[in-house]
C-alpha cells in the first residue's frame, strides 16, 4: 500500500507549523530585534501554505518542477528582505532547515508503523527542502552583493564633490584611494565644474588620500595636465609628510606642478594669482 505523502502533510498542516515555530523560537539565533514573533509566524505560515499547496505525489521527485515556482518566489522574497535587514547567513539558513525538522518529525509520527514508507518520504522531503535552502542561500548572497554594489556606487558618487570656494576658484577634496576609474570620474567632475563656473584655478586636495604610489601620482599629473589644457591652473594641496617622503623615494617628479602643504596655503596662493587680498576688518572705535 502506498501512502500519499502530500495528503498526509496537508492534513497535518497545523501541527507542522506549530512544530516549526517552536523550533524557530527555541533556536539560539532567533533575532527578536529584527523581526517580531508575529511577523515571523506570518512568514512561516505563508511559505508553508504555498509549499503544501504546490506539493503532490508526482512532483515530489522533481524539485525543478514548475509547480514550485510560487514557493521559490516567496522564499526568495523572504531571503532578500532578510539580507537587507542584516540577518546572518546562518540565521537565514536556519529558517528553512528548521522547517525540515518539523516536517520529518511529523512524518515520523504519522508513519510509525511503516518504516519503508517513512524512509521513502523522508528521503524525498529532504531532497526538496535541501534544494529550497540552496535557493535561499543563493538569493541571500545575491542580494548582499547588490547591497555592496550599490554602496560602491554611492561612495564613488559622494567622494567627488567639487566645491566653489571663491569666484574663479574651485576645490576638490579627494578622499580614499585613487584608481584609474576614480581618476576618470574625478577628472570629468572637475573639468565640468571648471567650464560651468568659469574658474581659472582648481585646487586638488589630497589630504584624504591614504597613500600615493607611482600610479596615483601619474593619475594626479594627468588631472593637472587636463586642467591646464582647459585653460585653468591646478594646485595640489594637502601633501602630508609621509606622502612627500614616498613621492621623493619613488623618484616621482612633481616639480612642474604647484604643490602646497595645506588647503589654506593653496587658497592663499590662488588669491595671489587672482590678485585678491584678504584683510582684517578695521574696527573704528571712535565712532560712538
Amino acid at each position: 500500500m502506498k501512502t500519499d505523502i502530500s495528503k498526509l502533510l496537508q492534513k497535518n498542516h497545523k501541527q507542522i507549523l506549530e512544530d516549526w515555530m517552536t523550533n524557530q523560537l527555541a533556536d539560539a539565533s532567533l533575532r527578536e530585534d529584527l523581526m517580531s514573533n508575529e511577523e515571523l509566524g506570518e512568514q512561516s505560515q505563508e511559505l508553508l501554505s504555498a509549499l503544501l499547496k504546490s506539493i503532490n505525489d508526482k512532483n515530489l521527485n522533481d524539485v525543478q518542477s514548475e509547480e514550485f515556482e510560487n514557493v521559490y518566489e516567496i522564499l526568495s522574497g523572504i531571503s532578500m528582505s532578510r539580507a537587507r535587514q542584516g540577518y546572518t547567513p546562518r540565521e537565514t539558513g536556519m529558517f528553512v532547515l528548521s522547517l525540515k525538522q518539523a516536517i520529518i518529525g511529523t512524518l515520523t509520527k504519522m508513519l510509525k508503523n511503516d518504516p519503508q514508507a517513512l524512509v521513502d518520504a523522508s528521503f524525498k522531503m529532504n531532497n526538496l527542502l535541501d534544494s529550497l535552502s540552496i535557493m535561499t542561500f543563493e538569493t541571500f548572497i545575491k542580494s548582499r552583493e547588490e547591497v555592496i554594489l550599490r554602496q560602491t556606487d554611492e561612495i564613488s558618487e559622494i567622494s567627488t564633490p567639487v566645491i566653489r570656494v571663491w569666484d574663479g576658484i574651485v576645490a576638490l577634496p579627494i578622499i580614499g584611494t585613487l584608481d584609474s576609474s576614480r581618476t576618470q570620474v574625478v577628472m570629468e567632475a572637475l573639468l565640468q565644474e571648471i567650464v560651468e563656473s568659469g574658474s581659472t584655478i582648481a585646487i586638488l586636495d589630497i589630504s584624504g588620500v591614504p597613500a600615493v604610489d607611482s600610479l596615483v601620482a601619474q593619475h594626479l599629473i594627468k588631472t593637472v595636465a587636463a586642467t591646464r589644457l582647459m585653460g585653468a591652473e591646478c594646485i595640489i594641496s594637502g601633501i602630508r609628510p609621509e606622502i612627500a617622503q614616498t613621492v621623493v623615494h619613488l623618484g616621482i617628479d612633481l616639480s612642474n606642478i604647484v604643490t602646497k602643504a595645506s588647503l589654506a596655503s593653496a587658497l592663499r596662493h590662488a588669491f595671489g594669482i587672482l590678485q585678491l587680498e584678504v584683510q582684517k576688518k578695521q574696527k573704528d572705535k571712535t565712532v560712538r
Binding site: 581659472t200 591646464r228 582647459m230 585653460g231
Partner: protein, 132 residues
C-alpha cells in the same frame, strides 16, 4: 569648404574652428596660419576650439605644431574653450600641448595674449603696444 577663415584683428589672428576637423583641413590650417603670421606680422594667435568635440592624435599634433611654429616666428598661441572630453582625450593620448597657452574662453584668452605680448615688449620698445 576646405579652408578655415583666419581673421586679423589688430596684432592678433583669430581662428574659430566651427566644424569637426579632418586631416586635410587641419594641414591646410597649419600652413595658412603660418603664412598669415608672416604676412601680417601678428603677435598673437587665438584658436577657439569650443565647437570641436572630436579630437585625435593627429589633431593634437597639429595644434602643437601651430604653437611651436608661431613661437619661432615670435607669436604667442592661445587655445581657448577646450571641451572637458577633448582635454581628457588629449591627456590619455599623451599630448600635453606644451607649446601652446590655454584659456577658458575667448575673453580670458585675449587677456592672456595681451599680457604675454605686453610683458615681452614692455622694456625694449614701449610704442609697440600702442600701435593698433
Amino acid at each position: 569648404m576646405d579652408r578655415i577663415p583666419i581673421l586679423r584683428m589688430g596684432q592678433y589672428l583669430l581662428v574659430t574652428i566651427q566644424i569637426d576637423l579632418y586631416d586635410r583641413l587641419a594641414t591646410n590650417l597649419e600652413s595658412d596660419l603660418v603664412q598669415a603670421v608672416s604676412k601680417t606680422g601678428a603677435r598673437g594667435v587665438l584658436i577657439d576650439i569650443s565647437a570641436l568635440s572630436i579630437v585625435d592624435s593627429f589633431m593634437g599634433r597639429i595644434l602643437n605644431n601651430i604653437g611651436s611654429m608661431s613661437k619661432i616666428m615670435d607669436a604667442e598661441t592661445v587655445v581657448v574653450g577646450m571641451q572637458p572630453a577633448v582635454a581628457i582625450t588629449l591627456i590619455e593620448l599623451g599630448l600635453e600641448l606644451k607649446g601652446v597657452h590655454t584659456a577658458l574662453n575667448v575673453e580670458k584668452g585675449m587677456e592672456l595674449l595681451a599680457a604675454k605680448i605686453n610683458s615681452a615688449y614692455e622694456d625694449p620698445d614701449e610704442d609697440e603696444a600702442g600701435t593698433e
